[in-house]
C-alpha cells in the first residue's frame, strides 16, 4: 500500500519532482553528471527506479533513498527533501518535506475549486475494475529507448 505522506501545507515541490522524477528515471546513482546541474537544479543523492508497468525490468535495491535539492524561483530559493522507500522495485512511500508554496487565495479556491483532500490513497488498479487508465502518456519509441539507456547506466 502506498502511503504518500503529506506535509501540512502544500510543498513547493520543485524538488519533490526533482527528487521523485530523478528517482524514477535515474536509478541508483548520482544524477549530476547525466543531466547537468545548471540553473540551480537540485541533486539527488541516490535513487532507484520503479519500472512500474514491466515487472521484469532491472531491479533496484530495496531501501529508503533521500534526495535534497534546492532551486531558484523568481522570488526565492526553495529547498526540499524527498524520501522514497522502495520495496521490490515499487515505491511504497514518498515523503516530501519542503517550504510551503505561495498558495492561491482562499477566495479564489472557493470559486473554482470544489474540494481538497490532504491525503490520497492509491488503490491497486487490478482491484478497481476499470477498463482504461489515464495518467502520464504511455510512451513508445525513441523516448523510452533514451530513458532505458540512462537507466541501464544507472542500475545497481
Amino acid at each position: 500500500m502506498i502511503r504518500t505522506t503529506t506535509v501540512p501545507r502544500p510543498a513547493r515541490v520543485a524538488a519533490a519532482m526533482v527528487g521523485v522524477a530523478g528517482v524514477i528515471a535515474l536509478a541508483g546513482c548520482s544524477t549530476g553528471g547525466e543531466a547537468g546541474d545548471s540553473a540551480g537544479a537540485p541533486t539527488t543523492d541516490s535513487g532507484a527506479s520503479t519500472a512500474p508497468s514491466t515487472s521484469d525490468a532491472a531491479s533496484y535495491a530495496d531501501g529508503t533513498y533521500t534526495g535534497e535539492g534546492s532551486y531558484a524561483t523568481p522570488e526565492s530559493v526553495e529547498t526540499i527533501t524527498v524520501t522514497v522507500t522502495l520495496v521490490d522495485d515499487v515505491i511504497t512511500e514518498v515523503e516530501v518535506v519542503g517550504q510551503p508554496q505561495k498558495a492561491e487565495s482562499k477566495q479564489y479556491q472557493g470559486q473554482f475549486v470544489g474540494g481538497i483532500s490532504e491525503v490520497v490513497v492509491g488503490k491497486d488498479i487490478d482491484e478497481i475494475s476499470v477498463s482504461r487508465v489515464a495518467g502520464s502518456s504511455l510512451t513508445s519509441g525513441g523516448f523510452n529507448q533514451a530513458i532505458e539507456q540512462i537507466k541501464s547506466e544507472a542500475a545497481v
Binding site: 513547493r12 474540494g115 530513458i147
Partner: protein
Amino acid sequence: MSAPESPAHATWCFDAIGTSWEIETTEALGPGIRARVTECIAQFDRVWSRFREDSLVTSLARDPREVGAPADAAEMLDAFVALSAATAGAVNPLVGRSLESLGYDAAYSLVDRGAAPAPLEWVDQLTWTGERMRLTAPALIDVGALGKGRLVDLVLAVLSPAVPGDIVVDAGGDMALRGGPVRIGLEHPYDARRAIGVWEVTDAALCASATNRRAWGDGLHHVLDARTGRPVTTYAATWAVAATAMRADAIATALFFDGGVELAHGWGVEWVRMTTDGRVEWSPGCAADLFTGPDIVDV
C-alpha cells in the same frame, strides 16, 4: 484490466506520434477504415511534429515565412490564445526551443543545456487566419499542450460516421469516447500500478497529464513554464473531462499553472489534480470517485 460488464469489443493497438494507441469498437475495424485513421494521424504528424525533419513546424523554425494555414491551425492556436491568457503566458505554442534546450529534442538527447524561456509575446511572432499562417521569427512551434487531444478528436471524427456502437479512442491515456460509460482509472503519478480514483465517463473526452513518465531525471520533464523554460513543480498529475479531447488536453495542461482552474470554470470542464506532495484537488461538482483520506477540506 478487463471490463467484465462491457459487451464484446475489438481493440486495435498501434504506436503513432510517440505513444501507444488503442481504438476499441464493438466490431473489428476493416482495413479501409484503419487506413483512413492511419492517414489522418500521418497528416497531422507531417504538419505539427517537431520530432520530424520533414514536418511543417520544423521547416518553419528553419525558414520562418507565411504559408497556407494547415488544417487545425486556427482551432488549436485560438485555444492557445485562451490558454496563454489564462495562465499569464505560462502556456505558449512557441515553447519548442525551450523543450529542446532541456534535452527533449528530436534526437532525444535528454541533455540539459539550460532553461530557455519562450518568447512571451508569441502572438507577435505567430499570426494566423483561416487561410494563412505566418511565423516571423525562427521559433519552434510545439502544440503539445493540446495537440494530442486535437488528434484524438480527429480520429474519433473519422471513425464516428463509419462505425456503429461505442467507440473508445485512447492515445496513451488521452481519450475520446462515443457511448459508454467507460470506467477510467486515474493513475497514481508515483506508482503506475495504483490509481487515486475512478472516473466514469460517457460521450466525452478525458485527458491526463503527468510529470513522471516523460521525465529524464533531475527534475526534467515535458511540462514547462514557458516564462522560465523550466519544468513545473507544484503539480504532479492532472485529469480533465470535456466535450472534446482538445479542450480536455488543454485544461490538463493549464491545471499545472495558476489560472488553469479559472479557465476550466469558463469552459465548463471538470478536473482533478494532484500536487507533488500528494494533495488532491477537484472541480466543483466533479463526478470522479477519488480515493481520498477522511480529512477533506471544504473550500
